[in-house]
Symmetry: C2
Subunit: 208 residues, 2 copies
Amino acid sequence: MTGGGGPGTGPAAAPAERRGRPRSAAVDTAVVETVLRLLEDGVGVAELSMERIAREAGVGKATVYRRWAGKEALMLDVLRSLDEAVPGPAGGCVRDDLVALLEFLRRRGLAKRSSAVLRTVVAQVQARPALWAEYHDTVVAARREAFEAVLRRGMASGEIRADLDTGLLTDLFVSPMLSRALFHEWRELPEGLSERIVDTLLEGVRPA
Amino acid sequence: MTGGGGPGTGPAAAPAERRGRPRSAAVDTAVVETVLRLLEDGVGVAELSMERIAREAGVGKATVYRRWAGKEALMLDVLRSLDEAVPGPAGGCVRDDLVALLEFLRRRGLAKRSSAVLRTVVAQVQARPALWAEYHDTVVAARREAFEAVLRRGMASGEIRADLDTGLLTDLFVSPMLSRALFHEWRELPEGLSERIVDTLLEGVRPA
DNA sequence: CCCATACGAGACGGGACCGTTCCGGAAGTG
DNA sequence: CACTTCCGGAACGGTCCCGTCTCGTATGGG
């Protein structure tokens, strides 16, 4: 239930030749996990003070500053910890693959934790572009690429119109799910939503 | 260029029987306008302190507190000031009305100011539901109703499939524009985008 | 074993902001 | 004109936070 908080969280690689006591890996995960939990609980990124993070993680403030230069650097690592593998195409028909990708968004990505993180990142698009860039490269890019790959396959097989831009198509498929997760606070994502979105988009809104 | 900051901004109605010097209406608009400008410049809602708002508006802090109980109440009035009339349907074909509504979103609503406000509000969905509720009732509801009215008209006239839910359809039309405005920082909203979204949705993604 | 380094805890000075209060002056009402 | 209320400015005590530093203790590599 901890999401993608596992390994790969280390903020900086040790340059070998370490004497003395090594740093505790548990501290890294505890801090990152605490930030995610607080965001999940609705604490805004600005109410998140380094002091509070350390307090709630049961960690000395100096220990946090020993690893991260400031809140910005810490947040970047938090975003990096969210890296998740997108499910590969099942190889069935394109329609089912699209539904599966949207279901992945609905279930794993947008249930609670990730919707909170997404809201937080969106709020920082203007003030801290680096934060958004990191989130885009780490999380968004892989998902978009997965969508576009399926769409290209559909275009090759004749299941998808080939005269459309895959970027725009990806927006058409993804953004309805995204908007609901952003605005409706991770409720209102009912079971059959993915199918309804995909089928409506495929069939078109105009009567046949 | 001041947007919807005009009348109706007063935080509380005067109960008549006022002696002494009346409150300056200029202060109300100056404060609200300053908040909007700061949000527009990328200042997060949490970096927005009452002290800073008063300073930048050239207004005494006590004067602000005389009108609003706190930041939450002030933000509610700021959102209320955003109320804008949605353009009525031109009465042409449904397709053109849908394009016109999306164009309204692209041009007026989502260029700069409103995208900043929307990001701010989204960030507060969890922490301050009242803020989101106010924004929804003031801004979102009217726009959604306009969309659904056009869609219902299209269903009656046979231009839109009648077996679909107007709420979901509205999401399909609106959210691609919304997502771009949220994520891409009010760039990347090119001229023909509205037409492309509407036509793709109408025609469908599957080949004919 | 020894020593360098990490650890939690907390003190430190500096700064920002909160919400209130007071001031001297301005501006309408009666 | 007298009076009441508002105005901008500024100060107040209080709280929280920042980033650094110092304790005394724990822990692992050489």
